[in-house]
Symmetry: D4
Subunit: 148 residues, 8 copies
Amino acid sequence: MEYNVYLSGEIHTDWREQIKRAVAAKQLPVNFFAPNCDHESSDEVGTVILGEEPSPFWKDHKASKINAIRTNNMLAISDIVVVRFGDKYRQWNAAFDAGMAVASGKSLIVMHAPELTHPLKEVDAQALAVTETPEQVVAILEYICQPS
Amino acid sequence: MEYNVYLSGEIHTDWREQIKRAVAAKQLPVNFFAPNCDHESSDEVGTVILGEEPSPFWKDHKASKINAIRTNNMLAISDIVVVRFGDKYRQWNAAFDAGMAVASGKSLIVMHAPELTHPLKEVDAQALAVTETPEQVVAILEYICQPS
Amino acid sequence: MEYNVYLSGEIHTDWREQIKRAVAAKQLPVNFFAPNCDHESSDEVGTVILGEEPSPFWKDHKASKINAIRTNNMLAISDIVVVRFGDKYRQWNAAFDAGMAVASGKSLIVMHAPELTHPLKEVDAQALAVTETPEQVVAILEYICQPS
Amino acid sequence: MEYNVYLSGEIHTDWREQIKRAVAAKQLPVNFFAPNCDHESSDEVGTVILGEEPSPFWKDHKASKINAIRTNNMLAISDIVVVRFGDKYRQWNAAFDAGMAVASGKSLIVMHAPELTHPLKEVDAQALAVTETPEQVVAILEYICQPS
Amino acid sequence: MEYNVYLSGEIHTDWREQIKRAVAAKQLPVNFFAPNCDHESSDEVGTVILGEEPSPFWKDHKASKINAIRTNNMLAISDIVVVRFGDKYRQWNAAFDAGMAVASGKSLIVMHAPELTHPLKEVDAQALAVTETPEQVVAILEYICQPS
Amino acid sequence: MEYNVYLSGEIHTDWREQIKRAVAAKQLPVNFFAPNCDHESSDEVGTVILGEEPSPFWKDHKASKINAIRTNNMLAISDIVVVRFGDKYRQWNAAFDAGMAVASGKSLIVMHAPELTHPLKEVDAQALAVTETPEQVVAILEYICQPS
Amino acid sequence: MEYNVYLSGEIHTDWREQIKRAVAAKQLPVNFFAPNCDHESSDEVGTVILGEEPSPFWKDHKASKINAIRTNNMLAISDIVVVRFGDKYRQWNAAFDAGMAVASGKSLIVMHAPELTHPLKEVDAQALAVTETPEQVVAILEYICQPS
Amino acid sequence: MEYNVYLSGEIHTDWREQIKRAVAAKQLPVNFFAPNCDHESSDEVGTVILGEEPSPFWKDHKASKINAIRTNNMLAISDIVVVRFGDKYRQWNAAFDAGMAVASGKSLIVMHAPELTHPLKEVDAQALAVTETPEQVVAILEYICQPS
């Protein structure tokens, strides 16, 4: 079985690259998807393509909807959604993606430091695995990729 | 049409009561649902009913799952989900509920202060209304309840 | 069987009232739903409740989304959707509602003058009845309401 | 991710070709689908294949249903639906396709001139992008095709 | 539990009445639904309401679609579909209803004489009960209505 | 919110009665559903109603399918499914019901003695609560029935 | 677009071969699926593989269910279902397949002689094309396979 | 048609290998999927990857959820689910998988010795074939793989 895995959440460390490198080295049959992780182009895309907006609300709105074309479709074709919560920022879009994933029947894997356990308890409760490190995610992928 | 409305999110102000009182005064055909808003009993329910856990993670886990029996079912029968983000705490469960609501085809109304616009842009982009006050939510409910 | 019927489309004649009066006179078990048919309040609702917008696009946008809370939910609980196309205006929202209705598995009844047959052929092709008058819609409702 | 994109609506300008050429030049992983854009063969197909009809209504009916075999299936396998409204004709089938797309969970991109904003407000309100030119659609496709 | 039961198929004997009378006598919590069983009005309804058709095909077409408004909706709200095949006529609509019922996840009960076993084997194979008499259907309804 | 609760599994102790009595005493808004818990009539129903079978396999088959009319429909209208595993018998139908419940999006509550933890781990892993006693189930129901 | 087409119904003439040959000659991107059209092996498969049955009912039952593994899965992956009704036999399985196809959202094409119009009116009413000959089916497939 | 087949249940005999070898020898277009059949690594995976647990319940819980990532996804892409019940152990996960398969619309094939007929009657009643040996499963796969 080939798995499609969507890597959602925190964009300020290289956790996605760590997972992808390790999975490539192990030659696992896994395809990765991710949102646009370039903060600036993600914020600007609405006005760059569709025209300036005087109001920050509508500027964000246009950008978020174009980003949603990508993220909705990637989430839809994914079997597994990994959501990482970092120690900074509010990351509501990460929790939002987790909610979308669960309601769409995807397998949810969460990654966060132990000190976030209490505020993330509702999200963790719906996950099939709560991890702390990219290595653990890789170990899970390797485990579920064993031949039948 | 009678609407079922789930009031999700922030539990430290009386915004739910404000909405319910105003809607009752106007005699609108709206039924409200909400999570258990008592912070302590919500945190403790897993261990109180199912037995102590030495680990905070599993204590939270058991509590969150019992709370999910309530919230999943209430969300499932609701037509409209109102999610309020306050100015404190991370409120990932609020964003998670919003993601569940959107993926389940519910009408999403978000409520938050303007300064949260940027971090909430992905959630707002999926909402049918972005409000700031309980009065605005009531006005929307009154508007959509006009007889056909 | 009690039917929920959503009356979509043209808002400048009293076709909805004609249908409702006749159905009430015959005491048929039919509940009617309709969008807000007051053109002005429908156009203004977004800015009236959520605040002014300098741009006509965003003014329309806010209004349309609040109206969608009502229309999406009414369409969702309806068994039958009647869409009337008048001889004026472009009425794209009527055709949009018809598309929503068909994709959601509702029974579609279309009402329009014969001279609109050619431009409406794709919509008519998905309908279970193509009518010209409110009387015909009433006759269909009476027919399908006969006791089992 | 490879996207399937259905190009619906106006058939009297070469907007589809402009999008396809630019996307091909950029070598984006996008497959395009479209209705039969030859007006005459589309109108005649029912009677040509299934036999003459004296009534224009049934002639249109037979043609529209055969066209629906193509369009329903193409829409079903598409991730993104682009609907262009021109400045002529009523184009109810375009709005109908938009309604089908939204109710089926597809990402909707609308294209039209700014002067159509008001009559198209309900359709625009459900779209993830409202564009005016083929170039903007291409820019969105290029943006969402960036590697993960 | 209250069951909605759709009685489909043969319309030339009083099997529906036998079931309804017995169920009423036993005061079981069952609601019955049925197509229009008056052969003539069912055949004529399209042209009577929507206007004459020179072609028998389109006359049947218009009638069948109006009947489908009733039958589709009744089938949709039913929990159980009973389909009776008589010893005359081809009754393709009965088999069609059975296919609709199975694909929609309804509980299918078939009723027919033993000599029809071989031609009905594919339908019977999908049924939860294959009966021969109204009494057996009543016995099943009585059995499943026992209080929990 | 009023909950529909299906009580599946072990039929040789009075656990269902204990739950129902306590819930009635507390006047909680809960409706209970259950399979036919009379072992003998459940085993015999197929042949009693539909005629003798020389083969035990087909006797069981006919009975199980009639029972499925009841259990499938009750499960379909339930919000919560409680499955109790006793210490005797193989109770594969209880585990089968649990699988049906999870795949249908119901909230699953499991009840069993701690010594069954290991063989039931896959079922427990999908449950929102793993209980040992009827009192715990009642406590959960009371908790989730608190007014909003 | 590549279409999957399931050819259901009558098995005593070579209509399937006619369609396949013509489509192959035109090199259309169409994959065909069909039930086992060998009458005898289809009737015997249950008892041949799973053991003799004294009762003709259970013999048919076992065969029909094994055949359903094939036909259910082929129907599930098909975009278009063509159902041919011949002039002999009752062909209830053909009508049953048509009902399954419609309820599953497949495009239905019916093929039958004009004299069967009246008894097939309910099936025809749900079809997107009612044909009489294999050539017409081929012409439709050729038409919908034109490049976008 | 290429079938995806999930082989669930008993892990202490080589029935999966027998089926795979015979299917490979016959060059049938069938892909097989299976849970991790190594009992020990399956039991330990949660704690090995995610860290030790003092409680056996949570150890099992963590392992079962990681295994569920694999089994849920394999079951989701399968067309046919074969579940074998051996003569030892309680095998509740096998019955649970069968319930998941049926509720998800998969074709269920059960394999067990005749003496398990009575306790498995509810599971068998939902299956499209009840077999006793790997050879019978292979014969069914060969039969349904005949070219259309």
